[in-house]
Symmetry: C2
């Protein structure tokens, strides 16, 4: 099958870039020094490529992701890097499957849910500056004691400096990441354990504090991360077809808001021209020349919520300018939903 | 099953509001005077409620929607209100199924695709001011002739005034819609046929030119349309769970960018407080008081790309303040994808 046979809109990925991104990260963060975050790509097929590169521990953001990873035989050491109160589903996973699942907790309620689910191991999730989950650094020791008293093993701490991920100034990003991680290390001193988990694609190099890096987006990158000085390349494209052209100089593509996320800005057009606006099922492009039936590629600004809109990513050896190339593998996006 | 048993995030809909919105529209636009647009809700279960209200003709935006509607026995008179070059899939539909499918065309290429697919009937799609599909009004007669010479029956014209849908000033919206529809009527004079199709939820009352209105969002509404003076109520909610709270006064919900679309702005929080930001799997809310485990509702700003992120909508008799009420029906979102 060639990309020209695909129903558009369709996500295609460049396998050379995918492989190179994985190799670059693995050379710096081999094996367990990386805990790849599956939320970025939501595909056990891509997770298996990371296993081939030597990684066997993974982060998940949802229980659906945990369930899918266990079902695919990738449950050796999974971290739910997120809070949950759904003890029933976690409990079912632990009862039925051979797997090791660690859960992030940041409150007495989430500790109680972990105990109720039959979870054995937890990390204390620490707020390191992002206004999201995690206890205050000075609460971490208290929660760790409560977890231990409840019979849980505390493997260590996690803290995600998501507010620093996209700082375009590398010196400031490095300095702020260092300050942020000082809070995590302070918490770790009161918690103990082998694991200090955190970081992401944007801080892959400047975060030296974590024992394992929670990066995921680097595998295919996106417009937002590509504004930074990272050695990873953009490998994902929304393949669309021009379905209409106007004498006024614009053209209309058959993929829009339902096929890519614009929360981090409009997609970037591959080749000449620019995106005018996206609507539900269309993107209008201008300042170029196109013909009806032509294939056009859009680079998403944010891959995570773009990939989760699709059933599959079609892997090609290399994305060529013609956008007509052999599909070598269909990667199922099997971890979407909740 | 109660809403408290649902895995969150989950979409819930208020059946009283759904029924009232459908009835309000049907009283003004009964039967074939409305051609409901399924792209808004992508569910044959909701389409069947519109059939019960007397509508048997529908608009689709994608071939997947056409396929699903035909399979569900709702193929009496479907309009693909969009351009396509995928003659193979349209052809398969027409070969295998008892259905009537009309296709919008706006170029020689889309006419050729319709002929190649074995399509019998088309509408000439006319650009009435939105920078998207549609030929110029002065090209419509020429294309109509070309279609007829190619053996197609031309049922009439369509034109979507999407650029006017959200104008908050009703007088200006009415005046601009009138001007826009003059172009469609001019095109119709050169094309002929019984059908003048167009309009949407925002122009449901001010568009008097069309013989059939292409509205869909009105059935459940959203934050963006609710800024207008329309008699339809918001009936869709993203049900989430508070998974973390902070001493700094914010709380974190377990649904974010992958569960609702922010292209038209952040969702609105039901009850006190406000949304601070949405991230991939979370929404951070502030200026209120919440406890871990509490259910919280978010009203999406744009329903179309929100609904397409979900497998189901859970219908309840009435959304109560407690957010804990009996689920009366699971509406499968069976028309998503392409």
């Amino acid at each position: 099958m060639k990309t020209s046979d695909l129903t558009t809109p369709a996500l295609i990925a460049d396998s050379k870039i995918l492989d190179a991104n994985i190799a670059t990260m693995s050379s710096k963060r081999p094996g367990r020094a990386l805990r790849p975050h599956v939320k970025a790509f939501k595909s056990t097929a891509i997770a298996k490529k990371l296993v081939e590169a030597g990684h066997e521990t993974f982060c998940c953001a949802t229980i659906r992701e945990l369930e899918g990873m266990v079902k695919a035989g990738l449950g050796n050491d999974l971290l739910l890097a997120n809070e949950t109160l759904d003890a029933r589903r976690i409990g079912n996973l632990l009862l039925n499957e051979k797997c090791r699942i660690t859960i992030a907790v940041d409150s007495l309620e989430t500790i109680a849910a972990a105990v109720s689910a039959g979870v054995k191991e937890v990390l204390i999730d620490v707020n390191v500056g992002l206004q999201r989950c995690g206890c205050s650094p000075d609460e971490a020791g208290f929660l760790s004691e409560k977890a231990k008293v409840s019979g849980l093993e505390v493997r260590g701490v996690m803290g995600y400096e998501g507010h620093l991920m996209h700082d375009p100034n590398v010196d400031r990003r490095t300095e702020k990441t260092h300050e942020s991680m000082e809070q995590l290390i302070f918490a770790h001193e009161n918690v103990g354990g082998d694991v200090i988990s955190g970081g992401g694609t944007g801080t892959w190099e400047c975060n030296q504090a974590v024992t394992e890096l929670q990066a995921g987006s680097y595998v295919l990158m996106d417009g937002d991360y590509s504004k930074l000085d990272l050695p990873f390349q953009e490998g994902l494209l929304l393949l669309t077809t021009v379905i209409s052209t106007s004498r006024s100089g614009y053209a209309v593509l058959d993929g829009g808001l339902k096929a890519l996320s614009v929360d981090s800005g409009n997609p970037q057009l591959l080749g000449n021209g620019e995106v005018l606006f996206c609507s539900d099922e269309h993107t209008t492009i201008t300042n170029g020349s196109w013909s009806v039936g032509q294939k056009v590629g859009l680079r998403p600004s944010h891959i995570d919520p773009t990939i989760s809109k699709h059933e599959n990513i079609y892997l090609v050896e290399e994305i060529e300018e013609s956008l007509d190339t052999e599909v070598i593998e269909k990667l199922k996006i099997d971890l979407r939903g909740w």
